[in-house]
Symmetry: C2
Subunit: 683 residues, 2 copies
């Protein structure tokens, strides 16, 4: 058994001080006399290798979460690291990696999707810490674990530690005020669990301060919480430019040298940026010790050795032919299919091919590549939009497209009257499929989403006036109308008598193909919402308020539009005979319909303590496939039942905990949310 730690120590001991400092930044130069090629740590792979040319473009992370399928997400992540390896192997010919060519992947984003306005919420696994943990664990394992018995396939860095969820416009100077209760009950839970269960190679600190302290510049956060409490063994990396934010944005230090010292001394090993060049000066001034530098360089080289960067590995044979291969495309399409959530169906779905002769696919997202890709994406070899998917599926009827509307935040300009063309096309049609919502130009990272009114964030969840007018005009025509909402976050879906409603998160290169597969019943929908769909903007707390109270299904007390975990099937499922032990519940689930389908059995806990707890919360789930009229006995393990008091101390619940098992019932009434959760049995 190799001891990578000792090997790293031996290697680093041969480096000069300057060499060591140079290795503490993301674009580490070569050290030729030690046969160390240059290496750029910065790579992104939320839903495919991003920004490095052709790659599988999977559904955006929020869509992967909607699959509620940890096995599938692990396959997805494994494809991502395979393609990253192919690109890394390609880069070796050029003498080392450049940005986005490495095998240290700064994914997944396991922040909690605290507020639906956050532009980067699409990168997360939604609003629930348990779901986020489960998906995060699978993703990290999928990225990191490969066939080589000695070497790790790729490094996963979980991010952004912690309480990072907007506003994008303020992130370099923002101080998130977080109670100890919310910290433990919500913001750090997924980090803790993913570190414990999946051993990610890296943790990335957030841009923002938390309670006045820098996330990449505070020893309590990094050394005490992450390393000591959560048991993290890898390297801690700053978000890009976050160290220079200390003096330039947050102004908690007075100079670049002070920032570099604060970062390194707090345990942040790798500086994405250049501020650590000042460590030499800091050392000369006696502000840090060389030992501190050694420790961080050793952590980084332990990882590089474990990745086999200086030896032959089984992964060296992965060539670029694997990129976007048939095999990868199959997994991709399945992820796209399972990520679609059926929100309403009066029986119109699934559609029989040829049963409508004139199909109008109308809307700003009907044929819009920006509503397919999601942020941090690679280049797809080809893309199928919803319009194209439906046209390619139902080939013997007429399928036409019109834009019909412009979304929130659409630039003023020449696209002034698409509604009329949309309405005229709807008149012509016997089936109207409205594909509305928002896109990648409206929500995204700071400055990336060029039509965002708030540097990436949304200021409203409402449809645009143009979209509402289109819906009004089309509904007056008394046609069959299916609404597809495309977004990376919860929207407020207009209240109109649609025959069916589908939610598609940014679906990746096969978005339109997957949508057609669902609409035409080639695939039975099985996605579930990873976020609550709210009814009213005014029900939301202030965007900058980091209290969880009044946010997400766990703490939200008003009526909602669609709950977390919700999603219909073309089949019908029933649960019976639940019994629970202290670690798991066993139950019988029956497909009572004539159609094979998948259902996600969800376990929720409801506490009854004297202090505030979540109203109810997910503690376990399992996705099962059932043939028509069959029953399966399913055993679902659940997380340790735990409540947190006002000081953030975890406690065993003192009073009775009720455990509910839930499937999505077709009779769901959004105004009576708790009826969705059928009370079954206390633990």
């Amino acid at each position: 058994m190799r001891n990578f730690k000792e090997e790293a120590k031996a290697l680093v001991s041969q480096m000069t001080l300057d060499e060591k400092i140079s290795q503490l930044m993301h674009h580490a130069p070569a050290i030729e006399r030690l046969n160390i090629p240059k290496y750029n740590y910065w790579n992104e792979g939320l839903h495919g290798v991003a920004r490095a040319g052709i790659a599988s473009v999977f559904p955006q992370a929020i869509g992967l979460a909607a699959t509620f399928n940890p096995k599938l997400i692990r396959e997805v992540a494994s494809v991502i690291s395979t393609e990253a390896r192919a690109k890394y192997n390609q880069s070796k010919v050029f003498g080392g990696t450049e940005i986005y060519q490495g095998i240290t992947i700064w994914s997944p984003n396991i922040n909690i999707f605290r507020d639906p306005r956050w532009g980067r919420g699409q990168e997360t696994y939604g609003e629930d810490p348990y779901l986020t943990s489960v998906m995060g664990i699978s993703f990290v394992k999928g990225l990191q674990e490969g066939e080589d018995p000695i070497f790790q396939k790729a490094d996963s860095t979980i991010k952004h530690f912690f309480a990072h969820s907007g506003p994008e416009s303020k992130r370099h100077g923002f101080d998130a005020k977080v109670s100890l209760k919310d910290m433990n009950e919500t913001y750090t839970r997924a980090f803790k669990r993913v570190i414990e269960k999946a051993n990610p190679a890296g943790v990335m600190g957030a841009y923002n301060l938390v309670n006045g302290k820098a996330c990449s510049g505070n020893s309590y956060y990094i050394n005490q919480m992450i390393r000591n409490e959560f048991g993290f063994k890898g390297y801690y990396v700053s978000d890009c430019g976050a160290i220079s934010d200390f003096h330039q944005g947050h102004r908690i230090t007075k100079s670049a040298t002070q920032s570099a010292v604060l970062g390194l001394a707090s345990g942040c090993d790798l500086n994405c940026g250049d501020t650590y060049t000042h460590l030499k000066e800091a050392l000369n001034q006696g502000l840090i010790h060389e030992d501190q530098i050694n420790q961080s360089v050793e952590r980084l080289f332990e990882s590089r050795i474990r990745l086999g960067m200086f030896e032959k590995t089984q992964y060296d044979e992965i060539s670029s032919d694997v990129i976007d291969s048939r095999k990868h495309q199959k997994i991709n399409l399945r992820a796209a299919q399972e990520s679609i959530v059926l929100l309403k169906n009066n029986g119109i779905l699934p559609i029989q091919k040829g049963s409508y002769q004139r199909i109008a696919v109308i809307g700003n997202n009907a044929n819009n590549i920006d509503a397919v890709m999601g942020n941090y994406h690679g280049t797809a070899s080809s893309v199928v939009t919803p319009y194209q998917g439906i046209k390619q599926e139902d080939i013997h009827v007429e399928v036409k497209y019109a834009m019909g509307a412009v979304p929130q935040g659409s630039p003023k300009g020449w696209l002034e009257q698409p509604i009329r063309e949309g309405v005229a096309l709807a008149k012509w049609a016997d089936l109207v499929i409205l594909v509305l919502g928002i896109d990648n130009t409206i929500e995204g990272e700071e400055n990336d989403a060029r039509h965002s009114p708030a540097q990436g964030d949304k200021i409203t969840l409402e449809y645009s006036i143009s979209q509402k007018q289109l819906i009004d005009a089309v509904m007056k025509l008394n046609k069959k109308v299916i609404l597809v909402n495309v977004s990376g976050s919860a929207m407020i879906i207009p209240n109109a008598p649609f025959d069916a409603i589908l939610q598609q998160f940014y679906g990746g290169q096969f978005a339109g193909k997957a949508l057609a597969d669902i609409i035409y019943g080639n695939v039975n929908p099985s996605g579930k919402l990873p976020v609550t769909f709210y009814l009213r903007m005014e029900d939301l707390p202030d965007f900058e308020d980091y209290q969880m109270k009044g946010r997400t299904y766990r703490y939200f007390n008003h009526d909602i539009q669609y709950p977390f975990g919700y999603g219909l099937s073309y089949s019908k499922f029933e649960i019976k005979g639940i019994s629970c032990t202290k670690k798991s519940c066993t139950l019988d689930v029956t497909n009572t319909s004539d159609l094979e389908g998948m259902e996600v059995i969800q376990l929720y806990a409801k506490y009854n303590e004297s202090f505030d707890t979540p109203i109810y919360e997910l503690i376990g789930f399992q996705k099962v496939n059932l043939k028509p009229h069959t029953t399966k006995t399913v055993k679902i393990s659940y997380q340790t039942l735990m409540v947190f008091d006002q000081k953030g101390k975890p406690r065993k619940p003192k009073k009775e905990v009720k455990i509910f098992a839930s499937v999505t019932l077709p009779s769901y009434d959004p105004n009576r949310i708790h009826e969705r959760v059928k009370e079954m049995k206390k633990a």
Copy 2:
């Protein structure tokens, strides 16, 4: 025979003063008691009905010019007005038109493409006044003339009168200094000729001043030149906001009222904008007479009656089914094919299908919709990019894509290292097709092209560093390499031993299909450059200098890269036996090759006066199709031979004029430009 003028007079006489004033702006409201529906004059159709939803998206105007095929451009324009009628008919159901739904089309743009940096040069027919006239005449006729014996199919407005060619960033306050010689010899020639030969319904004034006078606010320009000298019978319209530019941009008036008075009193009938609302006030102050208002309203209503807006016409039956129909697609594809210019071929082209097993299509424009559309475009029902076109053509071999490079002006950001992927793919391939150049986000109208460094204009014609590096690296691999330059304007093409070079202007929805047709020899290339390709930036005069001296092939004395009118074929052509009368030349043209092909026979005149004249200039051309080893006798009429003295006075040439007939010879040496023009015979 109807007298539309008298009918308009009678109709207008029933209007109140307020009603009349309201009709002088582009969004004319309804006058219900007179059964006049609301009507928005603003529509665009440079290369397809723009910004009004699905429409045929033809090659951009500069590409249409490259066809050197006036018959084809007339068919294109006829499709455009048919589709505009379809959209207009659709809009009637809604009680009147909105913007971009009318049949008054503010196209063509017959400005001279004076400087290759101009972002809107792509909208023009290039740098030559004669070619611009011929294409303009065909386009106007194609738009306006239809089957109805009484009513006009659509109105064409030629624009922008005059001397309008950048900078985009200054157009609302710029004064173009134009000599009388250049005015007559270059800037106004196409306007004069198109008005004389095609009777366009409208003329649009430019934003800029010319010699201190406003183009929509100067009676000499509008009444004396346009109406009296050129014989224009229609309505004069301001560019949008150009009347308010008088006080806000140019500051030649002090108030909106003064601007309105200057516009109307100078003969500008229609205000695109709202400034003419101040005419009421002006009338009350005695600054204008009601007669002046009447005259302009009458001109506009004469046109609306001629268009049949208040009666039944044969055009009312045109339904939206014609939009992007098979018939229209056929014309579109042909335009795209004929617009491609073969600049170099060492014999590699055309390619036999299957002769290369691994084809790499690499470049920022290989799979880029922004390099297909051109500005002022409609929505294409589907688009074929170069990569897709080649993949769909050569279906039994492997065709792969990589971006490979970023163009000039590309935003800094995450696309940082595409070169390596491009080079790796080139290594894999046995044929490399580089598709480089720029796109719609880099050159375009003021503020439209979001990556332009100069609000739509270019600051260089050079390839980007990234593109040059890609070329260098790929050429070192010793592969077969074809370069496709995509742009709406002349670029400086890097000097490398490409096996072939093709120029594709923004090619419309079938751009990639047409390119594949040329590369695989389904179609023999026949496009010719409508602009000079220069060798060096430093050879160009200052962008803001409106002197023609030193610009375009007519006045440029340095070496160049490729001349105006140049374009190779897979066939070889020879001209013999030329004889000319005072109006035409007759000659024999022979296809000496084994391949059927089209060639453009071009007649150029060379004057020999004591004052400055163009070095040589196009006076006539004809595109002919020839079967292998056949000869045709071709008669080409040419324009009246005319020179202009320093005062801009037209004169019959006093000395001998030499007329040359030219075809593009494969042996062309760009350093000896005048050898291209084979001297044949003086007139």
